[in-house]
Symmetry: C2
Subunit: 388 residues, 2 copies
């Protein structure tokens, strides 16, 4: 039996409402969804095919595979060219132009050649940027399970391990706890397998990807994360692994260390925690995300740590991001972000430092923005540097 | 230090030759590559940015991240709009329209608005469809390591395990052997984490993805593979896990079983092996891939097994595929394929059966097509059903 289930009627209609409100703001009469993450969001299942939504709230699933799915709004098609006979030509139509390849969007656009190409990616990003109560409970559950794994991490370390060997045991513990493995990233430029464990100076290896931390990786085909270094006294080990336990992710980073690490590194770690406290206090409803970025930089600068903030040889240009089905949702906590803090957002903050000769320090937590604008932490493992 | 390395000059010029030959056939004066797999193919490294190639064989890397890469053909840019000042406007220009999102291709096209959008995806797919000796040696190495893992699989089984628990131990063994984890699939419609382990009737759960076998999966967000069933006597367990050990993959499937399985299922497994032998004999240079598909169906039909061939409730419409950096390269062994067998191709054949009440049977091997047209097997674990 397919375990794929439809959303409850009330959850479906809540999500549809959010999507159609965003469509109305974007002046789109219809959208045609092709991205797995969007299809999962709006139907509760993944299939090969398309979802057509009108601004009046009518949703139709056009399914190619798998066989035998049913539901009130399901139409089986052989190819996208079968879609137009089932819907009236809209006056304006959005496609997922930020995630679907050019050739597919052109093919879909040819179904309704008289309408210009509208941007359904922006609509879906906006709708998904605030979470429903049902989504929040899935994210909460991921946080609880991820915390359970993080608390077991010290017991997984054995003397003489490389960063990779340590990572493999953390991966296994995550999977046994129910981690689904798949690490969903919107768009096609970033690649990561199950997260990254970065020991010592490997934290300073610049990465091609838009992640907060780098790492040289094990192979030129995947230059990120663990590089096979042996974990040695005086090094930190930053653990930032996949929190997808429910189809919705949490994102948590903690730091472990072997032996004594330098006061300089300890001070930077405390600065990261201080930034968390400051941002969650400053981030009232309506606060610009760009302002939170500035505050973080101010605190790092005051502490004399700006050279090490968000990297050392290479600096990341954001300190936090929304997340949910994918790891890179809205809002973006970055200098030129136009997002503002809004109830229902789920935001990972990750003010981190790279200290040459020691490694990466700082923590990452995932927060839920409550209706009152409080930042509720969903990733509650101990925040101090834990001795291995 | 970045471990990312440039290709040797001779390997780079061999690959460039293949790409420029394909560009000339496609009448493209230049291509602008944006896909990680293509950038890795043509430069030996992954970076944020673009690769510009002219049909005369001039290659330029336009790099945004990481910092500090060097090389004779490297130009740092801040944004794609910086590219045109470094190159002459070409008369025709290809973009990676099958893998790069619509918005990015449109943005890149706007750099040279007077040239029509050409298809660089087809160029790269064609060039990559036959492997260089250096690529072959990486694929060979993946095959050797994957085989070592598969030989250890029976020792990883413990009585009472679920398919998922078994999978987690196989994942760990693969990672300890050097598997990089990342499972590269061209395009954005298929998702899979480290491959699939499918026990018993879960093999008959239809999947939304274009994989040969389905499986309900553990969660509606990822409906493929293991579903948490306990492995029981009389069931088969089909193991098809990630063979990416070198940035180049092999693809191998083997079947394990607890206790005695039905003669019907054994017969189907033997039929799969017979299909392998027949196709590798029939697949001389110049043979249409579609003809190999027909032969496979003929053999399954003669054996009275066509109802179970490539699935039961849902049938896959191919029995093999090229592979290399990604799991879905050319040629495709399918009814309407226009590919022909050519020296240097690397092809996975996977004639499989789903037997209700038992599970999936059949094997998958990866073959290299030698200059003489022999099919050399690169995945040499024992082919019979192995008792757990």
């Amino acid at each position: 039996m397919q375990k794929a289930i439809l959303l409850s009627d009330s959850e479906l209609s809540l999500r549809l409402q959010k999507v159609t409100a965003a469509m109305q703001s974007a002046a789109l009469e219809a959208i045609l969804l092709s991205d797995n993450a969007s299809k999962y969001y709006i139907t509760g299942r993944v299939f090969a095919g398309y979802v057509y939504i009108t601004a009046s709230g009518q949703l139709t699933c056009f399914i190619q595979r798998p066989v035998e799915l049913d539901g009130p709004r399901v139409i089986y098609i052989r190819k996208p060219e079968d879609v137009p006979s089932h819907v009236a030509a809209p006056k304006s139509l959005g496609f997922e132009v930020n995630t679907t390849c050019w050739a597919t969007v052109e093919r879909l656009h040819a179904l309704f050649p008289d309408t210009p190409v509208g941007n359904a990616s922006a609509v879906m990003m906006h709708a998904r940027s605030t979470k429903t109560p049902a989504e929040l409970s899935l994210i909460r559950e991921s946080g609880i399970r991820q915390e359970a794994v993080y608390r077991r991490i010290p017991s997984l370390y054995r003397e003489g391990m490389t960063d990779l060997e340590f990572q493999i045991e953390i991966e296994r513990a995550s999977r046994l706890e129910g981690c689904l493995g798949q690490f969903r990233i919107s768009g096609d430029s970033m690649e990561l397998f199950m997260g990254s464990i970065i020991a010592g100076d490997n934290a300073d290896a610049p990465s091609p990807y838009d992640f907060a931390m780098g790492g040289a990786g094990l192979h030129p085909s995947l230059p990120v994360g663990a590089d096979g270094s042996i974990i040695k006294p005086g090094m930190t080990v930053m653990v930032d692994v996949n929190g997808n336990y429910t189809g919705y992710m949490t994102d948590m980073t903690r730091v472990f260390a072997l032996g004594q690490i330098s006061d300089h590194a300890l001070k930077a770690h405390e600065c990261s925690i201080r930034i968390h406290r400051a941002l969650t206090r400053a981030g009232a409803l309506g606060t610009p995300a760009s302002r939170l970025y500035e505050i973080a930089v101010e605190i790092a600068t005051e502490a004399g740590l700006e050279r090490y903030f968000m990297g050392h040889r290479q600096h990341a240009k954001f300190i936090g991001h929304g997340l949910g089905i994918e790891i890179n949702e809205l809002p973006v906590i970055a200098p030129r972000s136009r997002d503002v803090i809004t109830p229902g957002q789920v935001i990972a903050l990750e003010p981190k430092f790279v200290i040459p000769g020691v490694g990466a320090v700082g923590i990452e937590n995932t927060y839920y923005i409550t209706p009152e604008g409080h930042w509720e932490c969903l990733t509650n493992a101990p925040e101090e540097i834990i001795r291995l």
